[in-house]
């Protein structure tokens, strides 16, 4: 394992400059929803203390969106993923050559200061909405762990990744009425309280249960199923699924009303 990490890093340092678009990377904020909490998929790298967002480089002839899709497939095992570019981070100070040189030294590489990886990098931020239960977290070649973390308990991240995460969340809140949030984050069948909890978590604010239900049903994007979710300690709530066609149509105009 450690061996593979080393081999991979060596290749990357030596040949990455030929393979990849110079000075450009991407980072993904992968959102999932589990046990009524919003989760983010993070990587732990060797010899770097804070966790990091899954990221990658862009091959010279590759569309950036395709590169992001590739990164996501490799990290989650998912093929069809909702993915959206939301910002680009272009502060020259975000690439700290000394920091990275020290990191590589710690891992046993001596890297020339002209190496492509030590140059300035601009990164493109993507956020993804995935169905938690379908994800099989999978560390990349330069990581030793890949795990879900609770969104609201993430304090510090690698480099400027915390800034990227915060911006992603802000974007998500802002685009709540225009993106298929529920469809991508919830399982096919879900209950109204689950949907509400998702909205509450994203907005970080409590909503009135009855008004939420009225509003959601009034959009006409839900299909009420003839089943209930048994097993909870209380009255079994009905299950719903999205009417995808109507959902897509409603999102084009944006769901009406603010939160």
């Amino acid at each position: 394992m450690q061996m593979a990490v080393s081999k991979h890093m060596n290749d990357l340092l030596e040949k990455g400059g030929d393979w990849y678009q110079p000075g450009l990377s991407l980072d993904c904020v992968i959102f999932g929803f589990h046990e009524n909490q919003l989760k983010v998929l993070l990587l732990k790298m060797l010899s770097v203390e804070p966790w990091a967002l899954p990221g990658g480089f862009i091959r010279k002839d590759e569309h950036i969106d395709d590169a992001a899709t590739r990164v996501l497939r490799e990290r989650t095992g998912l093929q069809d993923i909702f993915l959206k570019q939301f910002a680009i981070f272009g502060d020259p100070a975000r690439s700290d050559r000394k920091y990275h040189q020290a990191r590589f030294r710690k891992e046993g590489f001596s890297v020339d200061k002209n190496n492509w990886l030590l140059q300035r990098f601009v990164t493109v931020g993507y956020y993804a909405l995935v169905e938690f239960s379908h994800v099989i977290p999978n560390p990349d070649n330069s990581s030793i762990a890949c795990e879900w973390h609770d969104l609201h308990s993430i304090r510090e991240l690698y480099m400027d990744h915390k800034v990227i995460l915060d911006k992603a969340l802000e974007t998500l809140q802002h685009e709540l009425n225009h993106q298929p949030i529920g469809y991508n984050l919830l399982p096919q069948k879900f209950t109204m309280p689950e949907l509400q909890k998702l909205y509450e978590t994203i907005l970080d604010k409590k909503l009135d249960r009855r008004n939420f239900q009225r509003r959601m049903t009034s959009y006409g994007i839900l299909r009420k199923l003839n089943e209930t979710r048994k097993g909870g300690a209380h009255k079994a709530p009905y299950l719903y699924s999205f009417d995808v066609r109507k959902y897509q149509k409603a999102l084009k105009e944006g769901l009406q009303g603010g939160w």
Copy 2:
């Protein structure tokens, strides 16, 4: 003039690779509002038929936002500009080496195919909101004209700039309630019909005059002045100005309601 263009292009081709972040550029969609129409500032380059968005490269130690501010200052003469990054365009097919090689040949340069300018470029899109009357359009070193064009009559642009423009407009429509549109596009004093026309132009839709007025005043972001705009062929409308403090505060939450 032509001479300066040639000299500049020669420097760019030979030394740009040392000065600038490789494979990365930026393009600005500069919006202005004049005679009740939304305008966009465009450049005409030598030996390129369609007009182009003003753009530029990013110096190796320069923040991309700073580079965009620099480009805008050079094109418009304005110092304090509302500027917002809205997307990145990363299709490898947007960089057409053969097309550019032909263009340079036409201008009398023989450019090696490994030249930095012929590599793949990813571009960052910015949109700017400026006060039309304050702008002094100024072509850059590789252009022969810099002029305002009517937004809705722009059909074709250089490379993928039309796509960039359309995306900028879409973003503007989408962020109408969150960005200080009026404050940046209108002169300090303006009339309610002017403000309404601005909204109508951006949204490309007619609004009811009386309801628009009610809604705008209800936000509490306008200061009604004790003056009227004389000279029009009809009843003189009152002048307004923005209460900047309240405007900023209202935008944080976003102006309420959809359009």
